[in-house]
Every structure is written in C-alpha cells, then in structure tokens.
C-alpha cells in the first residue's frame, strides 16, 4: 500500500481510517480470526483482513441462528422446570 497521501485526503479524516490504525488492528484481528483462514506468518493486506473479518462475523451469525434452532427443538420437549434447572447447572459449573 502506498504511503503517499495527497492533501485532499487529510481533510476527511473523520470517516477515513488511517494506515497506522489499520496496521494496528490488522494484527489484532488476525490474532482473532480462525487459523484456517489467514496464515499468521504472512503479511496480509488490510482489505483481506477486513474481508475475512466480514466473513467470520457472518459465519458466527449463522452459528447463533443454528444454535437457536437446536435449542428451540430441545426446549419444545422439555419441562420448563428442568430447562431452568439445566441453565442454573451451567451457571454453577
């Protein structure tokens, strides 16, 4: 990525992300993304990390949706008292 910055960019810094901020967050996000997606030894572009982050968020949303369905199926055939008992048990673990 070029480090030259024309003056016209600097006036719009409020919604633009600076390169330093990107580099800082690139390393933090890389650490959080699943290993299979981005090899940590490579220097990846900010755009790539942002894209992988978007993909990861979407996949986590799908997981939550799927888990909600499975919980729904399970709770359909559970007494409310034992459902609450199960949660309390998880709380105490």
């Amino acid at each position: 990525m070029s480090s030259r910055r024309p003056r016209s960019w600097q006036s719009s810094s409020a919604s633009r992300i600076t390169e330093e901020q990107i580099n800082d967050l690139v390393s933090k996000l890389q650490a959080v993304l699943p290993e299979a997606r981005i090899r940590r030894s490579d220097r990846v572009s900010a755009a790539k990390v942002l894209q992988e982050t978007c993909n990861y968020i979407r996949s986590l949303h799908r997981e939550v949706d799927d888990l909600s369905e499975r919980l729904s199926e399970l709770l359909a055939s559970t007494e409310s008292s034992s459902a609450q008992a199960a949660i309390i048990r998880s709380l105490l673990m």
């Binding site: 070029s2 409020a14 919604s15 633009r16 901020q21 996000l29 888990l67 909600s68 199960a86």
Partner: protein
Amino acid sequence: MQVTEAFKHAFLKQMLLGFQASAVSTKSMGFQERKNAIKLSADVAMAVARGSRKWTRGLIAGLSEERQNRSFLRLILGEQYESLLKPCHSSWKIPRCKKIVRRSLRICWRKQKKNQSGVLARTLVEKRTQELKRLVPGGKSMDGSSLLDETLDYVLSLRAQVDLMQSLLTTFEASKLRSHSKRRLPERKASYVSK
C-alpha cells in the same frame, strides 16, 4: 476484551431471565416463535454481559426497531432500556464527511493515475469498511477508528455467545439423556473451520 467468568455468568443469568420472560418452554409456542425468542434472549444477554459499548447500544437499538421486541426489552432491561436507546453523539457528523470523502476520492482518481495500485487498495479498504459497518451493530454511525475497535470487541463477544449457547445446548441434551435414557441425540461438530 477478555471473556471472563463474570461475563459468562452474566450471559447465562440473562439468558435464564430472557427464557422466563418469553416463556420459551410453553408447549403451545410455534417453532419459529420459540427460536426468535431464544435468539432475542441470546443477543440481549450478550449486550448486557458486555456492558456499555457502541455496538451493544447499537444492538439494543436495532432490536427495538421491531415492535414485537419492545415489551420484552422493556421487561428485562428495565430502566437501562431508556438510557441504552439514547442516540450516539457523533452520528450527525457522518453525512457531511461522506460528501468530503467522495469529493476527495474523485480528485484522487484524477490526480493519481500513476499510482493506481495505491488508490485501488484504498478503495478496496473503503468498500470492505462499508461492508463491516453493515455487519457491526451501530456501525453506520461510527468513524473509522471506533469501527475497528468495536469490531474486535464484537467478534470476541460473538464467539463467546456461540460457545455459551453451545454449552447450554450440551447441558440440556445431557439432562434429557438422564430423563430419557433410551433416546440418543446426534453430536454436533463445529461448522466454521474450513480448508
């Protein structure tokens, strides 16, 4: 952000309250209705467990945009609900800045024909940033650096939410196994990891 024991406890406790408030164990509830109630409880639990952040306020605000959620939100959030809905201070700035950014982008394209790869990289980052703004709750009114901070926090919280819901599921399945020892429930593998 660290996923602490305190976070886990707050999440599970809030899930329990949510389940009680929406009576998810009611036999007469339809599958979709129950699923939505569970998902709503899970999102509120995640926001409450995390505390006050731009994305948690954005999440609650987004959820309350749907009328059917409001009574539930008011019930389990109590006084917090009103204060969580106060708009973000910085939101008024952004429409103006978008115009400036677009103008300078146009100037850039004209001046920087030699340095096309640099401009392309910046445009790609801008494009991905817009995508991220749609995915992170409250992202639309965040400036660049807040967005990245909130994204990191949001991703960690989402992961914790998934883990906690999975452990909840496991607990339920285990208790069902105890009461119906004949039935076997299938194992679920993590679906995200791909090659």
